[in-house]
């Protein structure tokens, strides 16, 4: 599913966030709306006044007096209720939120203090904090109806500093029933003051998803390419727990994490017993991964022993464990009950082999980028 498109932007500077409408609305309902025109619509006089912006595939002539983006490459993926961000400089139309999807994200920042070898969303070093925070505040205001789950991701969301607390406060006030999951490397929580302030926001429904790649400090530090990261993450997890902040541990499975995987499970059980969930996740062939593929790649078929041992280890100890991003035909049947359909709708696809598979309904399928690299053992069940 497409996330961005672009055209030629006029009559505004900076950015606009709004809700797409394909049909014309009465004046008093236009305030938050971005009007998407159909191919054969002609603009008459002042008929568009009141919308935040107008979008059109075709050239708008005469040009509206309000902000608009025309000659957009494609608009088929845009629908009523989608929340989009528009960029004046580039004419970019970016979909931020689609009400019908199961997974919703709020992109906090592209900055990161780690540089993981398999990062799916490689960090950028320019300062986007103020702009993105502004955009996200408006996005939160517009989301309707409120979803059950919302994930705040990045980059490293805690690099927003006080801006993250502001977003959390807004979520607490405006959609407290929505469960918020923040994907963070947890390092910032090592500062007791930070963890304390985070907890003080008092959001009733928030948890952290924190990656841990080894029980041995240097191995984790190497994977995240940051010396001292293990100490900070483990300390951060403890600070979080001490402040009543719920945590999930996430482990990406690849050639560097598999060898000590069961030992990592033991470490988690003894040191991070308070973790309410452990997610064991398949590698995504996107971002940095293709660059480091030789160092990272192991066919999931070849680590089933370690995966089974690890899952069993955690499960018999009463820990809540799941497997993400794995296809059922690769997993042993006894592991199926731990496999979750975890891939975002827009990233998700199935292969030709899957057409004849009896398990497709319950299978998570593939990331769209898996077409380039996947297990050699995919088959119909």
């Amino acid at each position: 599913m497409r996330l961005t498109t672009s055209g030629i932007a006029r009559n505004f500077a900076g950015g606009i966030v709004g809700v797409v409408t394909k049909s014309d609305l009465l004046d008093h309902r236009r305030e938050d709306r971005i009007r998407l025109l159909g191919p054969s619509t002609t603009v008459v006089g002042d008929s568009l006044i009141g919308y935040r912006c107008v979008l059109s595939e075709g050239k708008l002539d005469p040009a509206p007096t309000i902000p608009y983006i025309h000659r957009i490459r494609e608009t088929d993926h845009l629908g009523d209720g989608d929340i989009v961000a528009l960029e004046a400089k580039t004419g970019l139309v970016r979909s931020l939120y689609r009400p019908y999807e199961r997974h919703h994200h709020l992109f906090a920042t592209a900055r990161c203090n780690s540089n993981c070898l398999m990062c799916s969303q490689p960090p950028k070093d320019h300062d986007d904090v103020v702009a993105l925070t502004e955009r996200n505040r408006e996005l939160i205001r517009l989301i309707n109806p409120h979803p059950n789950y919302l994930t705040i991701t990045g980059g490293e969301p805690t690099l927003l500093g006080d801006n993250l607390f502001a977003l959390m406060g807004q979520l607490r006030d405006e959609m407290a029933a929505t469960e918020i999951h923040i994907l963070t490397n947890g390092r910032t929580f090592a500062w007791p003051e930070y963890a304390r302030r985070f907890a003080q926001v008092g959001h009733p429904n928030i948890s952290l998803g924190v990656p841990l790649y080894s029980d041995f400090a240097a191995s984790h530090d190497y994977v995240v390419q940051a010396r001292g990261a293990f100490d900070q993450t483990v300390t951060g997890l403890h600070q979080a727990a001490r402040n009543g902040i719920r945590v999930e541990i996430r482990v990406v499975l690849h050639k560097l994490t598999i060898p000590r995987l069961t030992k990592l499970a033991e470490y988690i059980y003894r040191n991070l017993t308070f973790a309410e969930h452990v997610a064991l996740m398949g590698l995504e062939y996107i971002g940095y991964t293709p660059r480091n593929i030789n160092e990272l790649w192991i066919d999931p078929y070849d680590y089933q022993d370690q995966l089974e041992e690890t899952v069993e280890y955690l499960a018999i100890r009463g820990m809540n464990v799941s497997i993400y991003n794995h296809q059922l035909c690769i997993l042993r049947p006894k592991l199926w009950k731990y496999a979750k359909k975890s891939i975002s709708d827009w990233k998700n696809l199935y292969f030709q082999e899957c057409e004849n598979c009896s398990a497709q309904e319950s299978c998570g399928g593939f990331f769209q980028w898996a077409t380039k690299k996947h297990s050699d053992h995919i088959h119909a069940l």
Partner: protein
Amino acid sequence: MARTFFPFENLTPSPASFSLLPFRFTRLNGKELIVNEAGEFLIAPNGTVQQLADQRLDTGSELYRDLKAKQIVFDEASSPLLDQLATKIRSKFDQINGGTKLHIFVVTLRCEHSCHYCQVSRQTTSRGQYDMSTGTADRAIELMMESPSKEITLELQGGEPLLAFDTIQYIVPRAKEAAKANGKHLSIVVTSNLACVTDEILTYFRDEGVKASTSLDGPAFLHNKNRPRPGNNSYEKAIEGIERARAILGYQNVAALMTTTAASLGHVKEIIDEYVRREFHSVFLRPISPYGFAIKTKQSTGYEMDRFLDFYKEGLAHILEINRKGYRLSETYTKIVLTKILTPHGTGYVDLQSPAGEALNVLVYNYNGDVFASDESRMLAEMNDLTFRLGNVHRDSRRSIFLSEPALKMFQVACTQSLAGCSDCAFQAYCGADPVYHHATQGDMYGHRPTSGFCKRNMEVIRHLFSLIQENDPETMRILWSWIAGQTEKREPSLCA
């Protein structure tokens, strides 16, 4: 601008040397067992400890990584994470947080049984002399409520407490009222042989939420031998009582405990099978307490610890076999010790703690108002040994009880961390101190480990369980974990019924 990636050796070079964190060790079936301060262990190749001591261990090896991840060594490459180690140690000692939880009220010494191993009961049916007065009960409830613990368990004991049912009826509502007024969560257990139980009594317990714990020593021939009563029908009475109690209180609110006498040795399978036949899902293979009448009557009930350990091991193997066949049955002591070995948690089990659970985790209020450090302490008192009498409800406060000379003397020798023979023992993190036991058996609270039955039993039980862990049979481990995982430990109801 694309970022660069650093090679492993540049980012995290192996340290030139390492330092040791506190650990203890022993040999274990051709390997070395190394245990850190929080009870985490590593079964390492022979010679590992020597290499550690000599700084010869290769810091690039997998073994080194294991030792570092288990917080047995640390180096300058990363933080020793001492706060985290402290948190783990604190979790292990959680049971000493919050104060005394278990409070045993001896409502009467009278009993219609005359068990060989019983230390305290009196064969009299006349009321008065051996019953707890209402005034004593009132003061005991007050003292119980002075415990800082939010969770309070009140255990009604005897003698046979049902012979003083009116005393129970006096205590239960008052204890509940006091708990409510003090913001405490109160559980009540009655420890009874159930021989005299009636539907009326059981209905009262059901309505008041009182659970029952009883004695079942094995099949009829054994139970009746161990537990004589007029009519020689203790077994039949117990079974009938268990079934009635289950029908009225609910299955899960009736527990049974066994005591191993000399007559029990050789019959462990029959004892366990009796528990299965009665549809219990746990059995506690408990050695006889070497106190009071049990010491006096050693000829008829006592035995060497070696024989008990054979009994225990044979029993555990039989229990595991029963589980493999599909019936869920746990052995309570195994569960307690394994919880200490395999989990980050401690247990609330009073009789295997450091500091010793006596007084800190349990207090006994005798029928006459005397306060004792444990059930065993008051049994010694019945043999005219008042060493562990900490005070009397009518004269003392919680403060004066805990600062009494007997208490202070006991506390000095209550920590394995500072006892000769324990301080450097590899199993220290899993074991406990027992000043009362050592006073009773060796005439010295401090105790002499090489000749201590307590030490022998626990060393061998722990070693045996480590052998199972080392074998790592997946089916066995799954069974053992099913006993300990996911449950918050409760103190098993105490001794005699």
